[in-house]
Symmetry: none
Subunit: 133 residues, 4 copies
């Protein structure tokens, strides 16, 4: 498998939902494929409406640059080498919560984006999702 | 329930996936809530990439006007009373495949949009999804 | 007065609401000024969500060309002289429901756009609003 | 009531207008429902044209994250955990002036956004509007 399947994306989302329930948070969870196209999405009841878009942008941002979104955010600060890169691609989100998805061979097959709580929680839930592959 | 829940949206998607498999088609399936916000989405493997957006626009269009999308398309033809209504709301899709979701009391609680095959198949799969509520 | 005031816009909306109630319809009503900027807007309870944008686009379209929206729609049909003009200005709506607002001297001071029912009802409510000035 | 009505939205706007007059400021005032859809809007005569959009974005931003807009702005600064979140959702406004609207049971039923003066004035007028519910 060199691209995430729907079956794989649903496993990611279910693992992320399970982690969210453990943490007691309400999340939006998006999975994109290797081409940055949306494969699956779930919004938990009462999760922030503004995080529907953010979770998808986090997933795309992670795959756009093949790294966790928080890594890009370190470089996009004022004075940083990628200052205001968020203006590209119809809007990036560069704080934590976007994580790349890899297959057993270590190849990137997509990304997961999570939004709805603190960036620490968002990242933890995204990691839990990514671990399900 | 006067707004679709994630549990309800997942039932809609699973019923739509089952119908798609019966028909042997590859679909994109989107569920929006009563406020037209995305609640759940699934893209079947090898489904058209262009239908990711279309399925979401169909779901929103159905809820925007509280009717199946194909009904609007009858009125938006050249010479019709709603000609080129598709230019509103960041783009409508007005051919079949978008169906409103109702609760037991008959209240509209969201909508489902399906895209990936003929409009007849799209509509049949959307109806199968809507029937799961 | 060569530009609609908030007081004037509120009169337009209240007259339009009164007419809507007489007709038993649920409308979205928007008033723009001579510069096409939004001055006032009201969405009646349970009015179509998709008509929030359409009512505003009708008002702007009427003022963009200083004529009722339905007049433009006659010219934007396939083969017509303004075919697909709807692609301009971030989306026009060219079926009835947008009406220019004039002061006592006959100068255009803005426009009203109404959406939520048939185009005949939309136009009648817009005219009722325009008559309040 | 678990969603703002037009009657409620008009009360919010009228209270905000009254406060604006007391402060001697010219405001744009927008009310959105629980689904972030526009319900009512008023632009005072000579209020900034650029604030028409800002007031609406403030209202949506408050409802997107269920908090006053100024709270988000504290976190979206350079080096902050939500740096550049403004690039999501077709543009957020994260300085003060957006306030959530709650019913008697404390449930969020929409939001009000105000723009046209200092952020302190904007927030005070939004709070006055929110108190009318």
């Amino acid at each position: 498998m060199n691209n995430i399947t729907l079956e794989g994306a649903r496993k990611v989302i279910d693992a992320a939902l399970k982690k969210s329930e453990e943490l007691g948070v309400k999340m939006n969870i998006a999975v994109v494929d290797a081409g940055t196209n949306l494969v699956a999405f779930n919004k938990m009841d009462d999760a922030w409406l503004g995080s529907i878009d953010i979770s998808q942008k986090k997933a795309r941002t992670a795959r756009y640059f093949n790294m966790n979104t928080g890594e890009i955010g370190k470089l996009s600060q004022p004075g940083g080498s990628l200052y205001n890169i968020e203006h590209s691609n119809n809007g990036l989100i560069t704080f934590p919560g976007g994580v790349v998805l890899k297959n057993a061979a270590g190849e990137i097959i997509g990304a997961v984006g999570v939004s709805g709580s603190t960036v620490e929680d968002d990242h933890a839930v995204a990691e839990a999702g990514a671990s399900a592959i």
